[in-house]
Structures are given as structure tokens and as C-alpha cells.
Amino acid sequence: MFRTSLAVLLLAATTAGANAQESAKPPTQAEDLGSASLEDLLGTEVTSVSKREERLANAAAAIYVITQEDIRRSGATTIAEALRMAPGLNVARINGHDWAISSRGFNSFFANKLLVLIDGRSVYTPLFSGVFWDVQDTLLEDIYRIEVIRGPGAALWGANAVNGVINIITHNAKATQGLLATAATGTDERFLGGVRYGDTVGKTAYRAFAKYFDRDDLFAPGGGSGGDGYRIARGGFRSDTDLRIDETLTVTGEFYDGSTTTRLGVPTPAAPFTRLTEDDYPLSGGHLLARWNRRSSATSQSSVRAYFDRTERESPVHREARNTVDVEFQRQQVPASRHDLVWGLGYRFTQDRLQNSPTIRWVDRSRGDHLFSAFAQDDITLQPERLRLTLGTRLEHNDYTGFEIQPNVRFLWTPTETQSVWGAASRAVRTPSRFEHTVRAVYSAFPLPGPPGVGEALVVGTPDYGSEELIAYELGYRTQLTPRFSLDLASFYNDYDDLRTLEPGKPFFEPGPPPRAVTPLIARNRLSGRTYGAELAANWSVTDRWRLSFSYSALRVGLRPDANSRDPLARVPEGDTPEHQLHLRSYLDLSSRLSFDVLLYHVSRLETGNIPAYTRADARIGWRPSRNMEVSLTFQNLFDRRHQEFPTTFLVTPSEIGRSVYGKLTWRR
């Protein structure tokens, strides 16, 4: 069936070529538009009706944008919490400083199918292909918007953009001129403060900021404190320079330093076989990024982006330092009428230095990996204003699995001005992480009836571990029913292969001390699965001063271990993500100075760990007594005294989230 549809696409593309032959009136030349009259302009045919920016509103993908206003009015104090607003994402706060965030299933602290970028800088760690959410931060007021793409974005963004891509984009420095100071305090936020100053020198607009927060412990499931507070100081800058009328240079840099309080049950080879630890562990890191962009017209631009990123972190069982260098070139051009082509080349080098602990050991303590990539995507207008076809592919070479190819085909059909239908078929891979190739991690220790008396389950990485593969099919519909009501429906069917299992191997004797019988759990690609689901998002401006946002997401996951798999826990990820999620947000401007916002999130139960369904209600009152000042009061989790959002994961202890309130003062001039 897939082949048939490709034949149709082929035919369509050929027809498009034939259409282009039709002769048109001699067009007004682009150069003399400045002197053209209104009549001239009305009579001019245009070459291309597509362009980059338009695609957000009218993209052939399941995309949702969280704006600065959304972030401000949600009362969220972290990027992770702000992501709750995106339909189709599951955001679970595991404890004070750890989150499990995933799109369309497979959620975990170690969730590994989501790519996260901040101003184009990839922030997932090659250590386990996931994201350390505790350190992903900036001054939230500096975020312009967060684009959340559910479904594969691998053809454009590369490996690991399997189930989704999160693009965090900060404001241009021109938009953040002047002084901004914020201070907040409350029951969970002990203190949260930031200062930013922006100015312009010649053709360079810049800003610099500093922020600090100290977040309190949450609650341990049995009662008492969760031992999971954290505090981080962060400073950074951004400059935007107009080199020429069509040439800009952006430079950003950030540095952070802080610590997390971590409570952990560490497996130990002696009774009681788990040692409870609690201590503060340091985190630090920073980056420097430069991006040069030349945009000669709406459809022609080139950019070069390079960054250096360093991260260091420590936990009771692990210590890591990592340096990453990344360079990317991108070019967008219109090679021919009706075509809008983007292509690019990239290179990344990442080097780590890991320290062994009794719980986690590595085959090689330091490792450097190269990643080469090339991509091209052509956006073809088959029928102006009606039908667009996008063909794209990415070719990568990584040090773990060699070459990977990730193609996709997308269409966007706009039958009327207010409706569109889109569809896509894509292949994406999740390349192995450092963990899956080289780790030796003690999963648990337990008493044995006979000698040596102690058993140990050891997770063993192997260089045979290959990429996980996804073939995804998506279909979506969008409509602007009335000027004030819009609807966005996206559905998907994902077919996964070569997912991870941990296969019990032949036990062996470890002389110790202490002597123990070790059962290796070897990382293998022996699981396949299907997920399907749909996400519905609606936006309704009831009046000019009252807006409602609603979304519903449904998800089903079915996993099937291969016949030769003996992993008893292979199907656990089926219950990692809620089957239903409902969001309702209300934004109400009571007057030009007073706003009242309510956010409701309902998350259905998690089978894994038997975590009950919960409904979370947040409310925020904002008051602007003058142009320069805003005072706000945010209540979080109003409905229930406490709830847990995620089960225990390997070496990550969950806490319960309670009611909290904080007040915030924002001053700007």
C-alpha cells in the first residue's frame, strides 16, 4: 500500500513539473518593486507561496507552540513545568529536581526518544540519550517561545528526534532592552530571583542576565521531607549584531553552578542490600554559541552555527564531565519555481570523562565520539495555495552504528482557506548511548540461599547494541472554524523495531570482596512494538479578554518481545505513559491591569508502579499597578494535598508533590 502511495506521489510530482511550463505574464522584477504601484502589485504572479515561518502555523507536522505569554501566565518556574502545556507530551515530576518527559510514550527519567534544543544547541546527553532537566534553564522571561513537535523530526534534526523535538528559542537581544528584575518566594520556591539588562552599542544589541533559585524539598511518599531540593546560580548573555542589512551575528553564552540534594537507595552487596544515601552533589556547566546568518530574501538564507558546551555533574553513583563541539551549516534556497530547498551539513564531537563507582562502572573511562551529518529537504508546491509535498532525508555517520538514513515524506493539503489536512511517513532511529555500549551497572543486590550468599543483577552494555528504529505514519487536520475558534487534530501510528531489552545472561562468580553470584543483564535489541493515538487541541477566544485552551491526548502502547528474548520486564514501558491526558487552560483579563488564569491537567493512571490518576489545578493572579511593575500570586496543585507522578526508576527516587504557593514581583523599565 505504501508503494502505491509513492507511485501517486511520483505522478503528482511529474504533473507539477508539467504545470510549471504554462506561460505566465512577464513578472514584475524583484528589484524594481519599490517603485511599483498598487495596480502593478495586484497583477504580479509570485514564484513561491511557501516560506519557513509560515510552516509553524501551517506545518505538515503535529506542532504546538508555547509562547512567552503562555509561560508567564502559567506560573511555571522551570522549562520542564512549562512543557506541561503542550498536548501529547507527558511531563511527570519525579522528585524535586528530576522530571520524566516524553512525547507519545516511553516515558522515564531515562526517556531517550526526544530531542531537545535550546537556540539550536542540543541538550540531550549521549550518556543515556536523555535529558537532565534539572540544568536545562535560562531566564524564563528571555524565552521567546517553545516549539514542540510530536512525532519524528529526524530528517531535519537528526537521530534521537524519534518521538519528538523540543525547540526552545530565546528572544532576540533587540526585544529585551532595558532593565528587568524579578524576585519570587513561596512554599516550594524558597527564593527565585533574576536581573537582566539590555542595551545597544552601535549595531549590536545585547543583554546580560543573572539568576538564582533555591527550591525546597518535596515530600517523601511515606511522609516527611523528600530530600530533593536544589539550587543553581546562572549567568549569561546574548548579543545580536546587524553586520549588514541582511547579515546578522548572534552570540550567546551561559554558565551555571549549583547543587542537588539527592536521596538514593544504592544497591550494596551486604545486608540490608540497599544503603540509603542523602547528600548534596555539585552540578556545573556552560556554553558559548555563535550563529551567523545571511538572509538575502524571504526564501534564501545561509547560516553557520557553532557551539562549545561543557557539563559536569555528580551523584552518589556517578561522576561525569563532558565537552561537546558542534558546527552546522544550513542553506535555504529556491532552486526553481515551486521549490523551497533547505540543506545542511553538520559535525559534532563529544568527549567525556567518567568516574567509576561501586554501582556504575564503565568499560572505558573516557571516550570521544564523532558525528557527521548531512540533510536535505525540498518543499514542493504541487498546486499553489492548495497542495504541498515535502521530501527530506538525513544521512548520518556515528561511531556506534555507522551510517544511518532517516527519510520522510509529508504533504499538506489546504482545500479551503481555513482548513488543512496533512500527513507524513517517516523513518527515524535512536542511536545507542554510551550506557548501552559500555556500562556495568549494579541494578540490584539480594541475598541468595546457598553460597556465596549474595546475588547481584548487573546491567551490561555491549558494542553489539544497535539502533532502535521507528517507522511512523501521521495524519492531521486543522481548522479555523470561526475567527475565534480553532481546532487541531493529530493522529499517529508508530511501528518500532529493535527496542531495548535487558537479557539475563549466564551467571558468573565474582570473587569480590565480597564474593557474589552475578547475573548479567545484557542490552539487546529484542523488542518490537506499536503505539497509536491522537491529540486534539482547541483554542477558543470566548471574548477579546477571555481565552480558553483545551487539549486531549490518547495513547496506546503494545510491545512484543522477540521469540528469543528472556527479559521478564520487556513490556514494562507499556505502562510508563498515561493513556489519557486532558488539559484546560483559561486566560482571563479582568481589566487591563488584572488577570486571572487557571490551568487544569488531568493525567490518567500509570500501570507501571500503579500510580493513580491525578488532577492538578494551578491558578495565577497577576496585577500590573503600573507599566513597570507586575505582582503575581501563583497557586499550584490546589486540589489534592499530595500526589506522586512517576514510579521509582533505576537509581531515581520519586517524591510526592504537594500544594504550593508563591508570590512574584517583576519590575522593568
Binding site: V46, T67, L395, I405, S541, D544
Partner: protein, 203 residues
Amino acid sequence: MAPLNSGFRSRPQRFSSGSLSRRRLLAACTASVLFVGGIAAHPPQARADAPTEYQIKAAFLFNFAKFVEWPERAFARADSPIVIGVLGDDPFGADLDRLVRGKRIENRELVIRRYQDVDRAAGAHILFISASEQRRLPAILADLRSSPVLTVGEVPQFNRLGGIIQFAMENRKVLFDINPGAAERARLRLRAQLLRLARKSES
């Protein structure tokens, strides 16, 4: 094709027919993508010298300035510049800047400003509201309702929400609709020629 094929790792443990046929499908898919791309890259006749949609829209924005009279309070001085603003994602690139460079309308220079926030955008005389702002559009237009700003948009039903000029595409040509009632509320006077050239002119 050899280097591409080597991208499909050998998978020793799996010999299920499903996996094999899927691999064939993928190869077919990849080949087709390359093939279609190849055809598409060489259309029989390219007209890359014709203007793009946003070059035309940029020229419209500049032209609108000639057919609008702002109330006196909209300008600080008799020779204050006319500000053309873009709110949200900028679809024009440098085209808009290039187009107005060195141009004057009745003694006034033209300057281009870009905004990411409606609070600051009220200082523009002509404001293009990008499609990126669609979700907040009712509130943005309500905020600007009584400001002397010529709001220009391109999302469907822009004018029904209180916008003044709405672009539309028809047969690869850019047209515009006018909402005279909204212009009146903003204290803007639109010249008759502009109203005449609009596709629709209704409040």
C-alpha cells in the same frame, strides 16, 4: 547507492518476514525519494527571477503608507518617520528593509521595526501581524483597536477580528481586503483609491 545501503545495519537475530519486507520497502522509499527529488530539481522551466510572495507583500506595506492619513498625534514631529512594524515571526528577511531604504513619503522617512511583544508594537504606524501570532490575535487586535495603527494581517478572518487590511492569495497573486469600520475606529483615513483596489471592502 552503496554507501546509503550500508546505513541499514545487518541484524543477525531477526529473520522474520515482516522485518525483511520492511527493509525492502524502506529501500524502495529511499530510492523513490531520491528519484522524485531528482525530477523535482529540474523542472522544465524555472522562473526564479519573479518576485516571491513576501517581496510583493513587502511592497504592499510600503505602498499602503501612501494611501493612509494618520491623525496628528501619531507623530511626534512634522518630520517623524513612518514606522512599519512586524509583530511576531518576520517572513520578509532583508527585503522589507531594502525596499524602504532611502525612500520618503511626504517628507517622512520610513523605518522598519520588529516586535516580539504587542506592548511595544503600538508605536508602529503600519503593523504587519505575522501568522505566528494567530492564537493571540483577538487580544492583540483588541489592544490596538483605538491606536492609530494600520494593522495588516494574512491569517484567514483577520478583518473579522477587527484587523484593517487582510492579504489573500488567489491564482498566485496577492490581493487585499479592507475593513473600513476598523480603520475609522483607529482614526485612520484611507484614500478612495485604496478602497477601490481592494478585493472586498466591508466592515
